[in-house]
């Protein structure tokens, strides 16, 4: 049996402690748990909200594929990834990644790997709504995200 991988794509928020507990309780072989929470920034007060569009079905499948790659590559004991969609306001959570392993480096690398691939491969798109009332525009993909992903090539 492989390590347990949990993936959810949902409109509602998530609870960090609850997700960590689900993944690590009754697992006294786990020594390290890393979480990454991605939050909506207010861009110095200019951003009213992000609208997150996703490709239902493929979003879940793609994140699960990425988590399984991370589990195998870093020997993770468990991995959870939750991505929200819909309207998200500054300060709110967008994405959560949780990884568990016996030692810290694998947990750090696993979470970082999942985020780098999720950014560039999971079918989500962000549209900005600005505080001046305009619809703003679709967020552009960043070269820096491709670079971050490519450092995992081997």
């Amino acid at each position: 049996m492989g390590a347990p991988v949990t993936v959810r794509v949902q409109r509602e928020d998530f609870d960090l402690s609850a997700e960590v507990s689900k993944l690590s309780s009754d697992r006294p072989d786990i020594g390290a748990v890393v979480t990454f929470s991605g939050l909506c920034r207010d861009e110095a007060g200019m951003l009213a909200a992000l609208e997150l569009e996703h490709y239902p079905g493929m979003a879940e499948a793609e994140i699960e594929r990425i988590c399984n790659l991370a589990v195998e590559r870093f020997g993770l004991q468990a991995a959870t990834a939750i991505h929200r969609y819909g309207r998200i306001i500054p300060g709110e959570n967008i994405v959560l990644v949780v990884t568990a392993s016996p030692h810290r480096q694998a947990a750090f690398d696993g979470a970082s790997f999942i985020m780098d691939f999720l950014k560039t491969s999971a079918p989500f798109w962000k549209k900005e709504h600005l505080t001046d009332g305009t619809a703003g525009s679709w967020v552009s993909a960043k070269d820096a995200d491709d670079t971050a992903r490519d450092r995992w090539k081997r």
Binding site: H54, Y55, M58, I94, K119, P123, F124
Partner: protein
């Protein structure tokens, strides 16, 4: 002619003006690249949406594919801009 089920996301969806459609395409349309070229003949909205053809990403049956990928047998073809989740 063959039938393809298309889905669009983000500004590709907005520019084409719909989220999905089913189209008949000529037998000469073999790959994603052929499909993009064909769609651009269907009207200004497609031309605008697919203008920078090399930035358009494609998925067949919900898996990422390159533009050279054959579309034969695809249940669902998705076209969208580079992703910006996370």
């Amino acid at each position: 002619m063959s039938t393809v089920n298309l889905v669009y996301f983000s500004w590709v969806r907005e520019r084409i003006g719909k989220g999905e459609e089913t189209l008949e395409v000529p037998a000469a349309v073999v790959t994603i690249a052929d499909l993009l070229a064909h769609l651009k003949t269907l009207g200004e909205e497609y031309e605008t949406a697919l203008e920078h053809q090399n930035v358009i990403r494609a998925a067949i049956n919900q898996e990422h594919v390159e533009h050279g990928e054959p579309i034969a047998g695809a249940r669902e073809i998705a076209l969208f801009p580079p992703m910006t989740g996370g």
